[in-house]
Symmetry: C2
Subunit: 293 residues, 2 copies
């Protein structure tokens, strides 16, 4: 038995790639260029292109390579289920849910988890290390792993909001902070779309993703990787906890309005006002959305 292939993921990545570049029918797709873009060798790109040829997305010419067969904008939704990510993510979420529902005890052995989720050790360990990185499990000195309180305690939940509020506000006050105006416009569009009704029709995951991207964009403008890393880390955690909570869609119009207000303040150069408002925005969200314990 060998590992899962990368090529389904690469297929998706290629579609995303041509879309983001707004490529048109007939454009050439050099192997090495794609391989570099995805940080892999030409091999998995090649097999991904063969797949896409079968689906009519690209056209092969002997000894000349692959060419886009349709305009990128006419491509349907890329998201084809990719076994690797799916399988791994699925177990990750199951572990989180099982723990939140106390179906998993505080201490578990690797063998137990392997049996429970029917995973080979190597995959399980990959997931456990990811979870450890997120801070809600740790390896015990002897056998087994111990879940930490991070996921389940109300205190952690509020502490997380305080942390985010501080990091994001302070990131904005760094001398290196500089907004990317193009990104800013795109974000404005997204938030406007949300505000104009998207908050009723978008899926929970989409709303959550848009929200995270907004905040990570702001912190990214600080050009300080430590600030960005810490926000990313805590957002991954947040995803787990808040998935448990039914989204309160009635709050979304206010949220997007505040997001737009922040963008306005930044654009007009009123940075410290924007930072202060951002702080209040986050702390407010934490207070209101906090689950009742």
């Amino acid at each position: 038995m060998a590992r899962n292939s990368l090529s389904p993921q690469i297929s998706n990545s290629i579609i995303e790639f041509v879309k983001s570049k707004e490529m048109r029918k007939g454009e050439h797709l050099p192997l090495q260029m794609l391989a570099d873009a995805f940080r892999v060798s030409r091999a998995p790109v090649m097999s991904a292109l063969r797949r896409l040829e079968g689906e009519g997305v690209v056209r092969a010419e002997a000894n000349r390579g692959y060419f886009l067969a349709v305009d990128a904008e006419n491509l349907g939704d890329a998201s084809r289920p990719t076994e690797r990510e799916d399988g791994e993510d699925a177990v990750y979420f199951r572990i989180a849910e099982d723990r939140l529902a106390s179906r998993l005890p505080e201490r578990v052995s690797e063998a137990e988890l392997m049996r429970l989720y029917e995973l080979p050790r190597s995959r399980l360990l990959k997931i456990l290390h990811r979870i450890a990185d997120e801070g809600w499990i740790e390896r015990l000195p002897g056998n087994g792993w111990a879940f930490r309180q991070t996921l389940t305690s109300r205190q952690s939940y509020e502490d997380g909001y305080a942390f985010r509020a501080v990091i994001e506000q302070q990131a904005m006050l760094l001398p290196s902070f500089e907004p990317d105006l193009e990104e800013l416009q795109r974000a404005r569009q997204t938030q406007t779309a949300l505000s104009a009704g998207g908050y009723q029709t978008w899926s929970r995951a989409e709303i959550f993703k848009a929200n995270n991207e907004f905040h990570e964009m702001l912190v990214g403008w600080s050009k300080n990787e430590f600030f960005l890393d810490s926000i990313r880390r805590i957002n991954r955690l947040r995803r787990l906890i808040e998935y448990q909570i039914t989204i309160d869609r009635s709050r979304l119009p206010k949220q997007t309005e505040e997001h737009l207000h922040i963008l306005d303040l930044i654009e007009s150069g009123r940075r410290s006002e924007a930072a202060a408002f951002l702080y209040t925005h986050i702390m407010g969200a934490g207070r209101i959305k906090a689950p009742q314990v």
Copy 2:
């Protein structure tokens, strides 16, 4: 072949434990109590005690268990080399050094590293995941791992100081911040000892450790695990980079003096002054100690 035994580590832990509790000759050391303290089962504690009996640290009585054979304060230095930690840490540092000296390329395969450092895959992966958690390596989608710029770039170095300065200052301003007066006194003693000549005789590692503990103590008083986690993470990284730099001992008196000043301010309840001073303290250290590139 099986894994390394925990018992040498547990032996050290037991010695540390009885020292910290200032236990006296003749006191009982119940198995389960020690096992709970170290989060392991009774088995490795048992074998550690047998070792310690051989060394005359404890005395066994049939069916009654083990008893301390000397006053804890008369115990010598605990640090017996423990294969597990030692071996693992050693490779970790070798990887860091080899990377900093460009003896390792930006991209490496697991197989390569296994050959180079003569490690089984599982141990190597443990180390790589630790490094990934610290943020200076990442898994590539296909084969292999890629080192990130974090370790080598001057920019990252300064960004790290900016991050620390913000986190520590803000941690001190949180409403939940509350100094532990006992810890505070101990820290004052350590800093005074350093100031009274220790800065000339202590080893680099000891000085570094004392410094880290000082700062982690401050952030710990915020009672917010996210602040503390992020400081711990960045300190682990700092250890690597600053080990490369010869310590400038002439700066230590000023540093310890500033530490003592911070403790004074906290003790007299002037928290925001302390926070502001702490910020300047950290930023100053970053500017001066930054390696010349």
